[in-house]
């Protein structure tokens, strides 16, 4: 076997495997979307609660921080005996990594809303719930969306690790390439993963601009 003569990417392989590549790409996106979606559903009430009851924030940060620092491999190894080689195992891991970033950005975002604005809203007769949904969350949106962007990009990278428990989307190609010393597979997995991360980041930036038009239109002169 003459390894050195082998090209880094064999395009015939890519072409002949495009069906599988697309399937894994779809899996990658699905795993990411579910993780960030559930992460957001968990973080939103927790973030709002931490913002309102300041005492809650340190313990929540401590727990989510701890989850964040556990090596992903170790977390999966720990979960497999209980939840098996399933999507659930993958998502538990992925979701727990989003929490620290999302909760922190939700709390900071809510904290960045000027007190005068909230008081003006209260003075006009908005109820507490209306102030949360109509004033605080919309104004916190740029910071929250920035958190979602970081969480998404991080999750896209992490999804590749779940290949080890039989999931992994594009991570499957990386793992397969490593096992077989097949560089084409590694490159396809890695490059597409990076491309997805960059694409998602760009897309979310557009979403942010769309939903927060007030933050970029400023008075000129």
């Amino acid at each position: 076997m003459t390894l050195a003569a082998e090209p880094l990417i064999e395009w015939e392989w890519v072409v002949s495997h495009q069906g599988e590549i697309l399937m894994r790409l779809g899996e990658h996106l699905t795993l990411t979307a579910i993780a960030v979606g559930i992460g957001l559903l968990v973080s939103l009430p927790l973030g709002v609660a931490c913002f309102r009851v300041k005492k809650l924030y340190p313990p929540v940060t401590w727990v989510t921080g701890l989850l964040y620092t556990v090596p992903s491999l170790a977390l999966f190894a720990f979960l497999v005996p209980y939840t098996g080689l399933t999507t659930l195992t993958a998502e538990i891991g992925l979701v727990s990594y989003t929490l620290l970033i999302l909760i922190r950005n939700i709390v900071e975002g809510l904290g960045s809303v000027p007190a005068e604005t909230k008081e003006a809203a209260r003075g006009m007769g908005l109820s507490r719930r209306q102030i949360l949904w109509k004033v605080e969350l919309p104004l916190a949106l740029p910071v929250i969306l920035a958190g979602i962007r970081i969480a998404t990009v991080t999750t896209i990278g992490l999804v590749t690790v779940t290949a080890l428990i039989g999931k992994g989307g594009l991570g499957y190609f990386i793992l397969q390439g490593l096992r077989r010393f097949f560089s084409t597979s590694i490159f396809v997995g890695a490059l597409l993963s990076v491309a997805v991360a960059m694409g998602a980041d760009g897309l979310l930036l557009l979403v942010q601009r769309f939903f927060t038009p007030w933050s970029r239109r400023r008075m000129t002169g």
């Binding site: 005068e116 604005t117 008081e119 003006a120 003075g123 006009m124």
Partner: protein
């Protein structure tokens, strides 16, 4: 009518009262200024009226009902609240900002749109601004949008916290004038907070001067407060030049005018000179019928036979009955004749004012 009955506020953990035993009555259609040094509890007092701050003790009545016994959210929707321009919702367009309370009250779209248009016109705001965000407006425009928003559901009561504070002096004076004009027709019951005593004197029907700890030192018309401060604190707070400030509040129509030296353009010179001598004056106003044409010096008439042969010198400044005594005094000190000549809007001669006469009025 708004009545504060021995209202006190002691913030938790504070060693002193923010407001102590404050009783105040504000009549319907009256504009009352709350003034005082920082820490006098004026903003706290204002916020207790829409219950952004809950009083520690005492009661507050609005039209006879104790507001402390009703739902604060409903109460606030019925009170216009104006604060400095930062109070606009930055993520909402001007249209959405103005429509905030109508939407909370569930008005239908067409009614809201019509009201928004009406308010924009009322405050001379360009309709083009409606789709903009607050950050895209000038300070003065934002301030007016704040007033428009507070007026949206036409509440009988308005609370305003430093409503003209965040703009430069020229814009502020213009906003004040515009608001006074608006208030002439709207006749809202208004309580507003300001740290600027001159703003309070200019804008309010009555001034409530608070001392540290929310103690009411004086509650009276601006004119009465300036004429007789009553205490050293109030005198110090209203500041220097009390006499001059009062002049701005008294209208020319409020005092008796002097006849002044007058000749008719149809008079013969001899007759005119006799009139001047009788008035002990070396000049006289020249009238054609009852219209003021200007003035002549006695020396200019000599050598002529009729007053009409001499072109009268126009007065540099005239005042009308609606002018303030301050404007009249300005006219006196800048005029060569040392008097202010008063005419009606259509130029009819009414009389003159001298510095001595004004001084007598001020000194009482």
């Amino acid at each position: 009518m708004i009545v504060l009955d021995s209202v006190s506020k002691n913030f938790p953990g504070a060693s002193h009262f923010a407001v102590r035993d404050l009783s105040l009555e504000v009549h319907e259609g009256e504009m009352v200024a709350l003034v005082g040094p920082s820490g006098c509890g004026k903003t706290t007092t204002l916020k207790m009226i829409n219950r952004l701050i809950e009083p520690t003790s005492g009661s507050i009545f609005m039209d006879g009902r104790n507001i402390l016994k009703n739902d604060p959210v409903q109460l606030r929707r019925g009170i216009g609240y104006v604060i400095q321009s930062v109070g606009l919702l930055p993520h909402k367009t001007i249209r959405q900002n103005i429509a905030t309370v109508p939407r909370l009250l569930g008005w239908d779209r067409s009614k809201i749109d019509a009201r928004v248009q009406e308010l924009m016109e009322m405050l001379s705001l360009d309709g083009e601004l409606l789709s903009r965000f607050p950050a895209e407006l000038s300070g003065g425009q934002r301030q007016r949008v704040g007033v428009a928003r507070a007026l949206a559901v036409d509440p009988p009561v308005m609370l305003m916290d430093e409503p003209f504070g965040a703009v430069d002096p020229i814009v502020r004076a213009r906003l004040q004038d515009q608001f006074l004009e608006l208030q002439q027709t709207l006749r809202k019951t208004i309580i507003f907070v300001t740290h600027d005593i001159d703003e309070a004197i200019k804008m309010s029907d009555r001034i409530a001067i608070l001392n540290k700890g929310g103690v009411l030192e004086r509650y009276d018309t601006p004119e009465a407060v300036l004429r007789e401060p009553g205490s050293e604190f109030v005198a110090m707070f209203v500041g220097e030049e009390r006499g001059l400030k009062r002049l701005a509040l008294i209208k020319v129509a409020d005092i008796e005018l002097e006849a002044g030296p007058v000749v008719s353009s149809s008079d013969a010179v001899e007759e005119a000179l006799a009139k001047m001598a009788a008035a002990d004056s070396d000049w006289a106003s020249v009238l054609e019928k009852d219209q003021l044409k200007g003035w002549v010096e006695s020396s200019a008439l000599i050598g002529h036979s009729l007053v009409s042969e001499v072109t009268p010198v126009p007065f540099a400044a005239r005042v009308t009955p609606t002018s303030s005594l301050r404007e009249a005094l300005d006219s006196i000190v800048t005029s060569r004749t040392r008097v202010a000549v008063v005419t009606s809007q259509d130029g009819r001669y009414l009389g003159t004012l001298t510095a001595g006469k004004i001084s007598k009025e001020i000194a009482g």
